[in-house]
């Protein structure tokens, strides 16, 4: 249920995203989703990739500061109100979101929300009790 997200530190300067993208491409690693959190000076690239162990290994070997974080993925309907609905549930069951981002499935009318929760295990338990199904990494990469 837990999905391994890779994040790396980049300076907020032109061209600084190219090198890691190239490294992953050369190894045939597919980036399923990418989200860039940035400040004026630096950014954090968060990615879900086809082979996280291999990706982390390659990036580390090339000197990047890499972090692997467990996140959760939830599928929602890609229409107005989809996000508000799930956030309402999260409010009710009282789990705290550290950060989140969303991306659509390529052909279906569904979207995927990626969450990092402050207490991951509690979040899993409460989401399951509330009847919310979590997307596995297998599903995420093959869908």
């Amino acid at each position: 249920m837990k999905i391994q997200q890779i994040s790396l530190f980049v300076e907020n300067k032109p061209g600084h995203l190219t090198a890691p993208a190239r490294l992953l491409a050369d190894e045939g690693i597919n980036i399923r989703s990418l989200y860039l959190a940035d400040t004026q000076q630096f950014g954090i690239v968060r990615m879900i990739v086809s082979d996280w162990q291999k990706a982390a290994g390659i990036l580390e070997k090339h000197g990047f500061a890499v972090n692997v974080t467990d996140v959760l993925a939830i599928e929602i309907a890609d229409h107005p109100g989809g996000l508000a609905g799930i956030l309402g549930v999260l409010d009710e069951i009282g789990v705290n979101i550290e950060y989140m981002y969303a991306f659509p499935y390529s052909r279906a009318d569904e979207a995927i929300l990626i969450f990092r929760f402050s207490d991951l295990n509690a979040a899993i338990e409460r989401l399951q009790t509330a009847g919310i199904s979590l997307v596995t990494s297998q599903q995420l990469l093959t869908k």
Partner: protein, 444 residues
């Protein structure tokens, strides 16, 4: 001697400048007598000096000529730190009328003390410095050196007042007000760091004030190394005569030496401060005209004598006598130092201070680099820190928190505003595996 004074013109003829023209044989005799006195005083009253001299098997009675000074042990900055705060005092506290302190490499500052007599000597060498720059009663001197623990502000203040000039004690900062007062008061001379004056020139231009139109005619600049090209730029942009003044807190503060109007080196006030040039590696004395490290001995200091203090400043004693007629020997402009100390906006900074601040935050030392630039005439210091996997966190807030902690630790340790940048790992250039710690791009 009288001929020399007459030749130099009226501006140099301040009564306080008389010792500047002491015949050389008389000056050497005075120096020897004062050296014997100060060494005896240090040996009797300061355990540190007595221990060091005993280790070398030398006593005050061994100083029979000026060359015998080479028998004495050196004093270094860490001696002041190790004896913090009052360990090198040769006077009892009831005779100490003033304490100053300068930045040290780690937390604790370096403390210096003055008796009433020391303050009078200090004042007199500044009067002689200003008089040598052609300043006199009737001049309005704006003193933009910082007032406080730093010796620059109060030192220059006392000297300018004793000269008979009018002092405007603006201290540092607030450039707009500095420029307004300079204009409104008809200021004729300024004392500050050369980079601060460059900043004032730029700011005045932005305010639509042409410095060349102001009555300002002289600047006495010190507390940091500067260059001939900076002097040319300053003089061109402001139509003033720029003078180099030298000093350090450990010896007395500003006024150890100063240029005269010939601008051919800085005259050391040798009746109070005995200069030697030594080989920075071996410590062996070098003859006049050779470049080496300047070591100074205070000849008349009461509260805190310094014996062969290693300044770390690289210069030379210029051979021959100055055309101005002063018999005081001159040192060349200080261009560099023999250690890694950086002078940023007049503040002493050591790379080791940056290291200790980074260590304190992270527990391990990340790769870092100090980048010095000069923007609008003011020194800027940037510390680039490589983000290691251990420091990295996927939350923006955590990295911003790290950035903030590094920023405040460096500001706190260094006492000046520093710009901290987080950079990608392995991006700081290394040569033979070692990162170059300091990139100095300050130039004019």
């Amino acid at each position: 001697m009288m001929n020399s004074i007459l030749e130099t013109g009226i501006a140099d003829c301040h009564p306080a400048s008389v010792p500047d023209y002491t015949p050389i044989s008389e000056l050497r005799a005075l120096q020897l007598q004062r050296l014997q006195t100060v060494v005896t005083r240090a040996w009797q009253n300061v355990k540190h000096f007595r221990d060091r001299m005993n280790e070398r098997g030398v006593g005050p009675q061994d100083i029979r000529s000026l060359n015998d000074i080479a028998k004495l042990p050196f004093t270094v900055k860490s001696d002041l730190r190790d004896t913090y705060p009052f360990g090198l005092f040769a006077s009892s506290m009831k005779d100490v009328v003033r304490l100053h302190a300068s930045s040290g490499t780690t937390g604790k500052p370096i403390v210096v003390a003055y008796t009433q007599e020391d303050v009078e000597v200090w004042t007199s060498v500044l009067v002689r410095s200003f008089a040598g720059c052609g300043l006199h009663r009737g001049d309005i001197i704006q003193n933009s050196y910082g007032y406080g623990l730093f010796t620059g502000g109060l030192g220059a203040h006392y000297g300018a007042e004793a000269l008979g000039a009018t002092v405007v004690p603006t201290s540092g900062g607030n450039a707009d007000r500095q420029i307004m007062l300079m204009k409104d008061f008809g200021v004729t001379a300024i004392c500050c760091t050369p980079t601060y004056f460059l900043h004032l020139i730029d700011r005045a231009a932005e305010l639509g004030i042409d410095m060349k139109e102001l009555p300002l005619r002289a600047g006495v600049f010190g507390a940091e190394p500067w260059t001939e090209s900076m002097r040319a730029h300053i003089e061109k942009m402001s139509c003033i005569e720029a003078f180099d003044i030298y000093g350090l807190s450990e010896i007395i503060g500003p006024g150890v030496g100063c240029e005269c109007r010939r601008h051919q080196g800085l005259h050391i006030f040798e009746d109070h401060f005995y200069p030697e040039i030594i080989d920075p590696e071996s410590g062996e004395p070098l003859p006049d005209g050779s470049e080496g490290e300047l070591a100074l001995t205070t000849l008349s200091k009461q509260a805190m004598p310094m014996i062969r203090y290693r300044t770390r400043d690289i210069t030379m004693i210029l051979p021959g006598q100055c055309e101005c007629g002063r018999t005081l020997r001159r040192i060349g402009r200080i261009g560099r130092r023999s250690d890694d100390m950086l002078i940023i906006r007049g503040v002493n900074v050591f790379p080791s201070q940056v290291e200790s601040a980074l260590l304190q935050i992270e527990g391990t030392l990340p790769n870092y680099q100090i980048l010095l630039t000069r923007e609008q005439g003011l020194d800027q210091m940037e510390v680039q820190v490589e983000v290691t996997p251990q420091m990295f966190n996927d939350k923006i807030g955590a990295l911003q928190g790290l950035h903030h902690r590094l920023q405040s630790a460096l500001d706190h340790v260094l006492g000046i505003r520093v710009h901290v940048s987080l950079v990608e790992a392995n991006t700081i250039a290394r040569s033979e595996g070692k990162a170059k710690r300091v990139i100095d791009r300050r130039s004019l």
